[in-house]
Amino acid sequence: MKKLVVFCFVTSICISLQAQKIYATKTGQVSFNASSPIEKIAGVNNQVDSKMVDKSGQIVFSILIKSFKFENQLMEDHFNENYLESTKFPKADFKGFITNIGTVDFTKDGKYPITVEGTLTIHGVSQKISSQGTLVMSKGKPAISGVFKIKIKEYGVTGLYIGDKIANEAEITIDCKYE
């Protein structure tokens, strides 16, 4: 009897371990927008690396600053050299959790509102952030989207035009389709 209980316990652990799934993408999209009424300042990154675990809701985004492409080459150069200093700090990342992952049914197509909390590191400076977003399940594949704002100066990014030609707050848009 005891053996049977242990057996059942071990099997159930194995099943639950197997049931955990990691979704990943290397081509997630993150956009950056710090436009002011004077000037459009926006870049898109199509090389975002992200992983997500369905059971725990753990989620990670890794970003290369140089992968942000701007319409204007000079703006892209300034973004890299004068503001984000991408030679010194080539990466940005976010590590955190979807706190209400229990409400997402990964087996059922649909739209689920999510809350994400964690640590965002840009320009070598880490800040705790929290944001609302949406997880869409479609044909068994999840996609995450969300928009949040960050205060540029909180990440140690300084520059002449912040608050003038460049907005104080940058809007970050996430759009990642996982496999």
């Binding site: 081509t27 090389q47 140089k66 992968s67």
Partner: protein, 141 residues
């Protein structure tokens, strides 16, 4: 009379330089993007560049970051990203770390299993070495 001429000339110079700056910042920079095809690239094998980044990311960044790089390797994966651009993965000796390239649109389509040469701008290292704005180059057989 002389003074008037000098004044007129300086106004003209200021006007021309003003227009040139405006043109460079808002028109030229919008229409002229960095073109990897015009740059001389550092030639390296996919397995070597991955090894260099794994060994010492800082040193490798110093050597490759923001530079044009010509990487030779076997195509292990071809996909399309969310913007519709073709991406190619070049194999290294490590299954979990390869060279990931996003190709410029209008490029020839590569084939899985073939050894190719990709020229692109090195953006750094995540789990893979990442190349952007890449083009395919002819491989000498």
């Amino acid at each position: 009379m002389m003074k008037k001429k000098i004044l007129l000339a300086s106004i003209l110079v200021l006007l021309i330089s003003g227009i040139s700056v405006w043109y460079y910042v808002f028109v030229y920079s919008k229409n002229h993007h960095r073109e990897v095809a015009n740059e001389k690239g550092i030639t390296v094998a996919a397995r070597e560049i991955v090894k260099e980044f794994q060994l010492n990311e800082k040193t490798a960044n110093g050597k490759y970051l923001n530079k044009a790089v010509v990487v030779t390797g076997e195509v292990s994966d071809i996909k399309t990203d969310q913007a519709g651009q073709i991406t190619v993965t070049l194999k290294s000796d490590d299954t979990f770390s390869n060279v990931f390239c996003t190709l410029k649109s209008g490029n020839l389509k590569p084939e899985i299993g073939k050894t190719i040469r990709v020229k692109g701008i090195c953006n750094g290292f995540l789990s893979d070495v990442v190349l952007n704005e890449a083009i395919l180059e002819n491989t000498p057989q």
